[in-house]
Symmetry: C3
Subunit: 109 residues, 3 copies
């Protein structure tokens, strides 16, 4: 048995939890925040059989991997003169950190 | 030294913390929720000497083990006709998941 | 790779997070409370290369070690007669508990 500790972005957490639950993994969601400038993280604990660790990491990857998305450029601050033409900008979203730790004893009461 | 990570139901957490504290274990309570449909879990961290792991698991078992309780059947929704006779129903409460992880280094500052 | 789990007092957490971040460690802050009479703890997770564990513990020690501070004695409850002369009292603040756990697999997605 291994304990998978996954730190993911809040906006990916819902999809990840749904996907893990649909695959019959039982997860525990800890309320978390990142450090300075990195608010908005969720930490999940998942108890996993040794041979399923890679599958679980795959599910985390599918839902949380760092990726580029196209967003619309923010409007200029009011008071700026001239015509504002919105343009697409590329932003990086997602990303996850995963620690796998050995579990010496697992008990379900 | 081992780290005991116990995920218990909120309604059992108070008694468990009191019992562990009375036995001189120092616990840390993480704010947690379960996944979908499983809100209301509390995660506790307990640093324990190797030879006391089973005693701590016993204390968790005493306070949190899954068990049957008799509840009164819920009243019917208003508007239902006929006489309502409450009857006892059996519900399962409690339950805990415990992971024991080896601690390579422990420091008290 | 090791996972450092540090349980520190809330009032030291800000300085510690700033210091760790300035040293390029990425930390995850869990919302926590202690057990009875020990509210106000913060738990931090820090993923650390094996050879940097002692440096991280040093940073935690610098910011969180249990120490004596001089506080002014509290004023007596109103209604007490006589002249109140404040005097300095020594209080213990800070303190931290650190668990270091081996990480079998570490993935950054
Ligand atoms: Ni990120
Ligand atoms: Ni349960
Ligand atoms: Ni303390």
């Amino acid at each position: 048995m291994k304990l998978v500790i996954a730190i993911v972005h809040d906006e990916d957490a819902g999809n990840l939890i749904e996907d893990l639950t649909n695959n019959n993994y039982r997860i525990t969601k800890l309320a978390t925040t990142g450090g300075f400038l990195r608010a908005g993280n969720t930490t999940l604990l998942v108890g996993v059989e040794d041979e399923e660790v890679d599958k679980v990491i795959g599910i985390i990857k599918n839902n949380c991997e760092s990726r580029k998305e196209i967003a619309t450029s923010p409007a200029p601050v009011s008071g700026t003169t001239g015509v504002f033409i919105p343009y697409p900008i590329e932003v990086t979203v997602g990303g996850a950190t995963v620690f796998v730790v050995d579990v010496e004893k697992y008990v379900k009461l």
